[in-house]
């Protein structure tokens, strides 16, 4: 056996090491500059009750989740059962940011799949989403009582992300306040 014949093996082992590291990284996860910063304020008509307004002050009465969703968004359905579960267990209030949606389609969607939200704000033009740096639905922000964004989850919330990241953070923040 000579070194020349070992070269392919060495190269592949190096590649495997990189892949191993790669698996621990999340390519879809672009760090949000908003984490640790005050959440942008907003005033949006409430879905279903457009004469009422949902504001950041309502959201920050408790440690809350702000979930960006739309009836047009398929991935939102993937995380929906988890949100329903969270709401049913009364773990944390969830507010919706109904992003660039038709209000009637949005309401029909909630009737069909269930409504986990305390309230959803209609962001018809998507301006609030721009303030929050949203670039795809679903996205979920964890906001504490001081109005600081503590965490941002991009994409559908998975069991794993919920149990290992979101829930521990929520409990910690709830205990602190």
């Amino acid at each position: 056996m000579n070194a020349k014949r070992l070269a392919p093996l060495a190269i592949v082992l190096a590649l495997i090491a990189v892949f191993g590291v790669g698996l621990t990284l999340k390519p879809g996860e672009i760090p949000s500059p908003l984490i640790g910063k005050p959440a942008p304020t907003f005033e949006l008509p409430v879905l279903g009750q457009p004469d009422q307004l949902l504001t950041l002050d309502t959201v920050t009465r408790q440690v809350s989740l702000l979930n960006v969703w739309g009836s047009w968004c398929i991935a939102c359905r993937v995380e929906h059962p988890l949100l329903m579960q969270l709401a049913a267990d009364n773990v944390v209030p969830i507010y919706g940011l109904n992003w660039k949606d038709e209000p009637t389609a949005a309401q029909r969607w909630l009737q069909r799949h269930g409504d986990p939200y305390v309230a959803s704000g209609q962001d018809l033009a998507g301006n609030v989403a721009i303030d929050y740096g949203v670039y795809g639905a679903p996205e979920t922000f964890l906001i504490d009582k001081a109005g600081i964004i503590r965490h941002k989850h991009i994409g559908p919330i998975t069991e794993d992300a919920l149990n290992n990241t979101l829930l521990p953070m929520i409990r910690e923040l709830q205990a602190a306040s």
Binding site: L9, L23, W72
Partner: protein
């Protein structure tokens, strides 16, 4: 009940695959031939159970059994039957099952023909394929069970991703998988050669048709994917250097190199350990593709819904097979005795070696470009992406010499080429290529250089490949061409056609984004496009907005184009169906954009207009390459292989 039976069948198949792997291996090592003989019946049994599991899942889709989670996630009560069947492989779990099914089909085919192999070689080949089966069946059962129930059952399904609701995508994945999985046969032969220490002409003859067949499926699969992207994405492009496209292209490049190095190994008994290394690499790259697509380490438009646990599992499979086989290679490849005498550069084998160098470097360049973002991220350098400019800049210069070599090698004989034969055989093809290139350059005008070069190279490949067939047809040849030679000529003609298509499309396509009111006309490249409005029409499970665009040239309307936007209730983003008018030398292509006046369907629309010269040649060329591969693989000398001792160098069919 049926889904549970399917799941059970999958478990039984795993057990049989385990038997198919371990018992013959033990038999071959301890020289107990009755153990080795277990390989074939185990392979047959494994096939039966995997096929049953696949049928059970298909049945669940056909009868709309939304109590199966996978069916509920990827089908819908309104989905037409054709797409309910293709939805079986529409997402991760089912496509893995398809992978397993294809693997068991290949194994069955190998085990049927294994009677012609020496018993130890046959046993090791089937056992190695059994090991691959075990890995993928376990992966399916443990991380991606398609038969998992959904309790309570969904009232209706989530629907198949509308992007996949297209005839091209029904057959694209199965073809690709046939190719990927097919390389496991060459891989298994390589393992058998390493373990037995025997690698001779007969080995190369057994391996060649399997490799060529896998390669031809991969060729068709990639071409179909490209054709689909052209029709469905509405960007008029046919190749995007997306990581997943690259994942299928790398095994293709290495597989192409392998086909050619196998020819050298068969004819001259040379390049043995290199051929084995290529056989391992082609399959390794197929596994790598699986890893990249299913682990989520790279961002791509068509990555599957990903899950880190699955990524770890595929990486483990990759490590086991690739690192394991390369370790075996490091330990054993020194045993192969190459035939006496080195390689002269000016000989068929010398030029094929050069071909291998270029193909391998091209594959490495694609690999580097694909993985570079991952390397940078893994080293803490942040996120970035490598785009088409890199690939085009690196890839094009590497492929030009390949096409030159194709023509040259056809006139250079094994062992030592003769200058006078090269001259007498190549002056005519060279002259034809040069004169057509000049004509094309004059016609092309502004893009004369790129178009001229494409025609020069393409016609060179075609004309040189035609030399032997034409001579035979005219009755001027002393030797009779075998199917392998006919197939090779056809594949090289396909390559020439492909090169002409790619070169001209890249250089001379024109496009325009326009805003048109009803009745307005826009001109592009001598064609006039008149927008006649948009109507709405229902489809089986979508509503369509169908545009009407009249295409005219010189005042004569020659086509009514109907580009569509389809809205699926499950999805907000509409799907694009471009509309094309096709002639052999150009496509006129229109895709419908958005209504520009507050969603008013009757107002102005944005439209994209393209004129794409010679784009059909890309797919025609690819198809001819695949067809050539099929004809070559059916050469009767492969079927006779192993029945009689074959000398290492056989001069009767000088053309291969």
């Amino acid at each position: 009940m049926i889904p549970e039976l399917g799941h059970f069948a999958l478990c039984l198949a795993t057990g049989l695959a385990l038997v198919q792997w371990l018992v013959p291996t033990a038999g071959a090592v301890t020289r107990r031939w009755r153990w080795a003989a277990v390989a074939q019946p185990a392979a047959v049994g494994q096939f039966i159970f995997v096929a049953f599991a696949f049928a059970a899942l298909t049945y669940a889709f056909i009868v709309k059994d939304f109590s199966v989670a996978y069916v509920a996630a990827n089908s819908n009560s309104e989905l037409p039957l054709m797409y309910r069947i293709s939805a079986v492989w529409g997402a991760h779990e089912g496509s893995l099952l398809l992978w397993a099914l294809m693997l068991s089909v290949w194994t069955l085919a190998v085990s049927v023909s294994a009677r012609r192999l020496p018993s130890d070689v046959g046993a090791i080949v089937i056992a190695t394929m059994g090991a691959v089966s075990v890995a993928f069946l376990l992966f399916t059962i443990l991380t991606s069970n398609p038969f998992e129930r959904l309790i309570p059952a969904a009232a209706d399904g989530n629907d198949l991703n509308p992007l996949l609701q297209d005839p091209g995508l029904i057959i694209h994945p199965p073809m690709l998988y046939m190719g990927y999985v097919g390389f496991s046969v060459a891989f298994s032969f390589a393992i058998a050669a390493l373990i037995t220490g025997r690698l001779d002409t007969a080995w190369a003859r057994w391996t060649r048709p399997w490799t060529t067949t896998a390669w031809l499926f991969l060729t068709i699969g990639i071409a179909l994917g490209s054709w689909w992207a052209y029709n469905e994405l509405g960007w008029g492009g046919w190749w995007f250097w997306d990581p997943v496209e690259n994942a299928s292209f790398m095994p293709w490049l290495v597989g192409t190199a392998l086909i050619h190095s196998l020819a050298v190994t068969e004819k001259r008994g040379l390049l043995k350990s290199w051929t084995v290394l290529l056989a391992i690499s082609a399959f390794a790259l197929s596994l790598l593709g699986t890893f990249l697509v299913r682990s989520g380490v790279l961002v791509s438009v068509h990555a599957f819904a990903t899950d880190p646990q699955r990524g770890v599992f595929v990486l483990a499979i990759f490590t086991f097979f690739v690192a394991g086989s390369l370790l075996l290679y490091a330990l054993r490849a020194g045993k192969f005795q190459s035939s006496a005498g080195g390689i002269a550069l000016f000989s068929r084998e010398g030029l094929l070696l050069l071909n291998n160098v270029f193909l391998t470097v091209a594959a490495l360049a694609v690999l580097l470009g694909t993985l570079y973002p991952l390397f940078v991220d893994a080293l803490g350098g942040g996120k970035l992406s490598v785009g088409p400019p890199y690939f085009n800049a690196v890839f094009v210069p590497l492929t030009i010499p390949l096409v030159v070599l194709v023509g040259l090698a056809s006139a250079v004989s094994w062992k030592r080429g003769k200058m006078e034969r090269v001259r007498s055989q190549l002056w005519l093809p060279g002259a034809i290529a040069a004169s057509l290139a000049v004509v094309a350059a004059v016609v092309a005008g502004g893009q004369w250089m790129a178009v001229g070069l494409a025609v020069l190279l393409g016609v060179w490949a075609i004309a040189t490949a035609l030399y032997d067939p034409v001579k035979t047809v005219l009755g001027r040849s002393r030797v009779k061409l075998g199917r392998a030679a006919w197939g090779m000529s056809l594949a090289h003609i396909g390559l020439g056609i492909f090169v002409i298509g790619v070169g001209i499309v890249s250089a001379a396509s024109i496009e325009k984004d326009v805003r048109l009111n009803i009745g307005e006309t826009e001109s592009l490249g001598g064609y006039d496009f008149t927008f006649m409005g948009v109507r709405e029409a229902p489809g089986p499970n979508y509503t369509a907005r169908i545009g009407a665009v009249e295409a005219a040239r010189g005042g004569q309307t020659f086509a009514e184009l109907a580009p569509e936007k389809r809205l699926y209730p499950s999805q907000q983003n509409p799907m694009t169906e471009a509309s094309t008018h096709i002639l052999p030398w150009r496509d006129v292509y229109v895709s419908l954009g958005e209504p520009l006046e507050d969603g008013d369907v009757r107002g102005a629309w944005s439209l994209r207009l393209y004129v794409k010269p010679f784009i059909r040649w890309i797919w025609l060329g690819s198809f001819l390459m695949a067809l050539g591969g099929g004809i070559a693989a059916s050469d009767k000398r492969y079927r006779l292989a192993g029945r009689k001792a074959v000398p290492a160098l056989d001069n009767t069919a000088a053309a291969q």
